[in-house]
């Protein structure tokens, strides 16, 4: 082993959380190396030219929750990060009508009024409450979760702080938050609204990445996410990164490099080297070894603990807990290169609606039926889809006059009956295009190239176990001090000097960078145990 292989810290995985983690460690003066298995950085936050001239946001496609302190600390705009706003959300309806929510408040109000005056009124009150609750939740997302089984002063203090925080909310807000945490998105929205496509489109954010239908309890709290993006002021609700989501990863990588981080691609890690219960380095798939007193995994908990280290280096209880950690994939992705724009029957022609999100979610029943297929082991025949046309927002994504379309699709169960294969993947792609063609009939004829990713592909290509985009389901029993499991939610692991910083840790999921940052702070602040 050469001296070039010795570092202060090794980060496994060059996804956005791994890069954020490395950047913060490097900023603190550590000599860091990031080891990425693929030829590109970004993990699930990548832009790739899969078809010549057309740039696909292969997996993740929008940005909203990227922590403003990360943007600030790493000075990401200087490293090329530019977030462009998504103007609207269009929900086309089967009867030829539509519902659009615009960035402009009055325009949205008029549109909602057209469907239901009552809902137009309620929408503002709902927004206010969500805003307040988002403010209430924000500090929790930014803390290292305490351990409820520990009696150490640090953990007890953590819970005391949490209790004080909740008491400080006052009764009304506390109860509203409790309802949001425990209810189904559909029930929660039923208390506020009557317009089906509005309830369906809003509840869809509660099912993204989760193997539950909108009527299952536990799906309501994700409604908050939308508003969390808003309070930070960095961007309003959802945005699109110029150059695609990969540009987010690139800007973080660029910042990390500026602080001296060494970032290597095509450097797949085979194993963490553990000596006397302590992580001392990693072995690459090509046989190379790297040494460092700190090893950080940005992989999901299954890979972090069941692949990177030997079960014998972990307590049995812990291994059981990680095995039981739910990580079922529920979604797929279809990326298209288009010769022309889709022409929606409900809003014909080119218009500002094509610069926003397009949601195929006409009713809560529609989403439930999509879920029904999946819960019995099939992909949805008529899936829920969340679509953007990146080339409408950033013309650089496709050749002039041509377009790229990014389609997030749910449900596609990772444990499809009989397993996934090429034929089923294409059948899944067909179901997506056929469903979409009902709303935009010209679409099939406009397709130049199609990329279909099922959970099977996402696992094989991106290394996300079972294709779960959040590194583990965002259900109540897998959040906060239970993510990934109780006692190990503070980014440490049972192996000394081995840390975790991926979305499988608190607060988890989405391009937030929060896990990577909190883990770095833990590593830098924590004394060696």
């Amino acid at each position: 082993m050469t001296a070039g292989h010795r570092f202060d810290a090794i980060v496994i995985g060059g996804g956005h959380n791994g890069l954020v983690n490395a950047a913060y460690l490097a900023m603190a003066g550590k000599r860091v190396v990031v080891l990425e298995k693929r030829h590109v950085l970004g993990g699930a936050a990548v832009t790739e030219e899969i078809y010549p001239g057309f740039k696909y946001c292969v997996c993740s496609y929008v940005v909203s929750l990227l922590r403003p302190e990360i943007i600030r600390d790493l000075d990401l705009p200087r490293h090329g990060l530019e977030i462009l706003p998504l103007e609207s959300t269009l929900t086309p309806l089967p009867d030829g009508d539509h519902l659009v929510r615009w960035a402009d408040h009055d325009q949205t109000r008029r549109e909602l009024y057209r469907h239901s005056p009552r809902d137009a009124e309620a929408y503002d009150d709902f927004g206010k409450l969500m805003y307040q609750l988002a403010v209430a939740v924000k500090p929790i997302l930014a803390m290292v979760p305490p351990d409820p089984t520990s009696l150490s002063p640090k953990d007890l203090l953590g819970f005391a702080r949490l209790a004080r925080h909740f008491r400080g909310l006052g009764e009304e807000q506390f109860h509203a938050l409790f309802k949001l945490m425990t209810m189904s998105a559909a029930d929660y929205l039923d208390e506020w609204f009557e317009t089906e496509p509005l309830k369906a489109t809003m509840s869809a954010s509660g099912i993204i990445g989760t193997f539950l239908g909108p009527r299952s309890p536990g799906t309501a709290y994700v409604l908050l996410h939308h508003y969390l993006g808003e309070i930070d002021g960095a961007m309003r609700a959802w945005g699109f990164a110029r150059g695609g989501t990969g540009a987010v990863s690139e800007s973080i990588a660029s910042a990390a490099r500026r602080f001296g981080a060494d970032i290597r691609t095509e450097a797949g890690v085979a194993q963490v080297i553990v000596k006397n219960g302590k992580a001392v380095g990693v072995a690459l798939e090509n046989g190379d070894e790297f040494r460092a007193p700190v090893v950080v995994s940005a992989l999901d908990p299954k890979r972090t603990f069941l692949q990177m280290v030997e079960p014998k280096d972990l307590p049995d209880d812990f291994v059981d807990a990680i095995r039981r950690f739910k990580i079922r994939g529920s979604s797929g992705k279809v990326n298209l290169a288009l010769s022309e724009l889709p022409d929606f029957t409900c809003l014909p022609g080119v218009g500002p609606h094509l610069r926003g999100a397009i949601s195929i979610s006409p009713s809560v029943d529609y989403l439930e039926r999509a879920y029904d297929d999946a819960k019995y082991g099939a992909f949805s025949r008529r899936p829920y889809m969340d679509i953007i046309i990146p080339s409408m927002i950033d013309p650089g994504m496709a050749p002039p006059g041509k377009h790229v379309m990014s389609i997030f699709v749910q449900y596609a169960p990772s444990d499809l009956d009989g397993g996934w294969d090429e034929t089923k993947r294409e059948a899944f792609g067909d179901a997506v295009i056929d469903t979409l063609a009902e709303y935009a009939p010209n679409l099939p004829g406009a397709i130049l190239h199609r990329q279909v990713l099922t959970p099977w592909d996402i696992e094989r290509e991106m290394g996300l176990t079972q294709g779960n985009i959040f590194h583990g389901e965002l259900t109540l029993q897998q959040l906060f001090c239970m993510r990934p499991t109780v006692g190990w939610a503070d980014f440490t692991t049972p192996v000394r000097n081995y840390y975790q910083c991926g979305s499988g840790t608190h607060p988890g999921g989405g391009i937030t960078g929060a896990s990577g940052r909190l883990a770095a702070l833990k590593i830098l602040g924590g004394r060696p145990r």
Partner: protein, 529 residues
């Protein structure tokens, strides 16, 4: 105007009688007013057909509060609880069957034939459930705390719960916290492989719920039915000798012994509220009865909207009551049988008919039954919980004949097409009998009489809003300090002198007496005034 009484209890359901008896025992002059000609509410035994006694609503009891049995001397007044053994017989789809016994070792033996792995898992699983149920049991006895309040008693009850949880030891504490918000299908999937075992246990998690077993939160519902069940007994089946009406009869005897006046056929028209204080009631006969306090055993919707009236209440409180979800899903079918059902594989009479017969061959079976209801139709193949009390208690039927009581689920209160008229009622009866006949082919020809209660019938006969047998769904957002509505979970209401004591309050439904017991304690705590 008659009276004045120290307290009027509206409704002679089991909780109303418990509260009345305790108030009488404390020296208060109490009047109980029952709308029907019989006492008992949903804990009632009626001769639907002369000579045949049916438990027409609840046909099983939960864990009766031991203090109630002791303090009110119910055994001396004739209460005899019969713990069926085996508790459950469940035919599988392949002709085999499952028997769950009160002795866990016997269950393990019975399971071994079906799945050795499940037999191994039985005892550890039932121990875990026993521990989780013990934690809940402690919470059941407590008045829910005002989370943002400053009462040291509240803080103490929260601390006590925390201590109870910690006493489990780290491993079990973590597991109990983890499983509480889960879907019962996931929990059972972690432990067992046999379809009929998973389906039959999961049935306890969906009983009375407008949710399928794959919905999050159903583990709580499952645990609710295991509070007080005792070591190793899952899906306990307890009945009252002579019918559940014998329990309410014994309660009435006890109450009268403490000077309580109980009048039947006395529907209350409304609660008299003067200057924000309840001062008595008006009967539908026009008679007014004055009292220092009024206690309602009716569900919260009936209490606040029918008996009090929204005009007496703060609009925000009205909104909360409006938002309580009832969504009844149960129907009852009562059959007089000329002979016992002969189940395929076990055609002869035997101990398998002692407990309940559960038609729950798999998780998927239950989930599909739910799917029908989710879209507004009654299950074509419903989940059935069948009880033949005459097997162990011959006095309830004419000699040689039998009574069969069936809880059928899902029969949604709101139908998408049509309504619960006579034809729909008969179709429901046919679906129930048809489903059971698939397992016991002689059933149809054995039926001498049939009586069907739809959710609408349950509402009209027993005063259960939307036919919900629990006075409000048992979902996490409607339990504990959220029951019946957040901010009023302590048996008191915004109307001074008006209390609630029914299943719509903590800890909820089932024949347990806990709500009535807790309510009496709080009323007495407020002073005899």
């Amino acid at each position: 105007m008659t009276g004045p009484y120290d307290a009027i209890v509206i409704g002679a359901g089991h909780n109303g009688l418990v509260t009345a008896a305790y108030l009488g025992r404390a020296g208060l002059k109490v009047l109980v007013l029952e709308r029907r000609e019989v006492i008992g509410g949903a804990a009632v035994t009626e001769q639907v057909f002369p000579g045949f006694k049916f438990d027409t609503a609840a046909h099983r009891i939960g864990a009766l509060h031991p203090a109630v049995v002791r303090d009110l001397d119910l055994k001396r007044h004739g209460l005899e609880v019969v713990h069926a053994d085996p508790t459950v017989f469940a035919p599988a789809s392949d002709g085999r069957h499952l028997l769950l016994w009160r002795d866990p070792k016997r269950t393990v033996e019975a399971l071994r034939e079906m799945s050795p792995a499940d037999a191994e898992a039985w005892i550890p699983f039932s121990e875990l459930i026993g521990k989780a149920a013990a934690v809940l049991r402690a919470a059941w006895s407590a008045t829910p705390p005002e989370v943002t309040g400053n009462d040291p008693r509240d803080l103490w009850s929260v601390v006590k719960l925390g201590v109870g949880l910690r006493r489990l030891g780290k491993r079990d504490m973590v597991e109990v916290m983890r499983i509480l918000p889960m879907a019962v299908s996931e929990l059972l999937g972690d432990w067992f492989e046999s379809d009929v075992l998973k389906g039959t246990l999961a049935a306890a998690g969906i009983a009375g719920m407008f949710q399928g077993p794959m919905a999050a939160g159903t583990v709580y519902a499952f645990l609710h039915h295991h509070v007080g069940a005792g070591g190793g007994v899952l899906r306990p089946t307890a009945r009252v000798r002579g019918g559940v009406g014998e329990l309410t009869r014994a309660l009435a005897v006890a109450a009268r012994g403490h000077g309580v006046d109980i009048r039947t056929s006395q529907p209350v028209e409304r609660v008299i509220v003067k200057d924000g204080r309840a001062t008595g009631v008006v009967l539908s006969s026009g008679e007014e009865v004055a009292a220092a306090r009024v206690v309602s055993n009716a569900d919260p919707r009936r209490t606040f909207f029918d008996l009090v009236g929204p005009t007496e209440l703060d609009p925000e409180f009205v909104r909360k009551v409006t938002n309580i979800r009832f969504k009844g899903v149960c129907a009852k079918v009562h059959l007089v049988l000329g002979e016992l059902p002969r189940f395929s594989g076990v055609p002869e009479a035997g101990p398998h008919l002692n407990g309940v017969i559960s038609i729950s061959p798999s998780l998927e079976y239950l989930e599909r039954a739910y799917d029908d209801a989710k879209y507004g139709a009654a299950s074509r193949r419903p989940y059935l919980e069948v009880s033949i009390p005459s097997v162990t208690d011959p006095d309830v039927a004419e000699s040689g004949k039998h009574v069969m009581s069936i809880v059928a689920q899902y029969a949604p209160y709101r139908l998408k097409e049509g309504e619960w008229d006579a034809a729909a009622r008969e179709r429901l009866g046919d679906a129930v009998v048809g489903t059971l006949s698939e397992y016991a082919p002689n059933l149809e020809s054995a039926i001498l009489h049939r009586h069907v209660l739809t959710p609408l019938d349950l509402e009209e006969t027993y005063g259960l809003s939307e036919g919900n047998i629990y006075h409000g769904e048992h979902t996490l957002d409607q339990l504990f300090f959220m029951r019946p509505v957040p901010g009023s979970a302590r048996y008191r209401t915004p109307i001074e002198g008006l209390y609630l004591c029914g299943a719509g309050t903590h800890p909820g439904g089932g024949v347990t007496g806990f709500p009535g017991y807790n309510a009496a304690r709080e009323i007495l705590r407020d002073g005899k005034g």
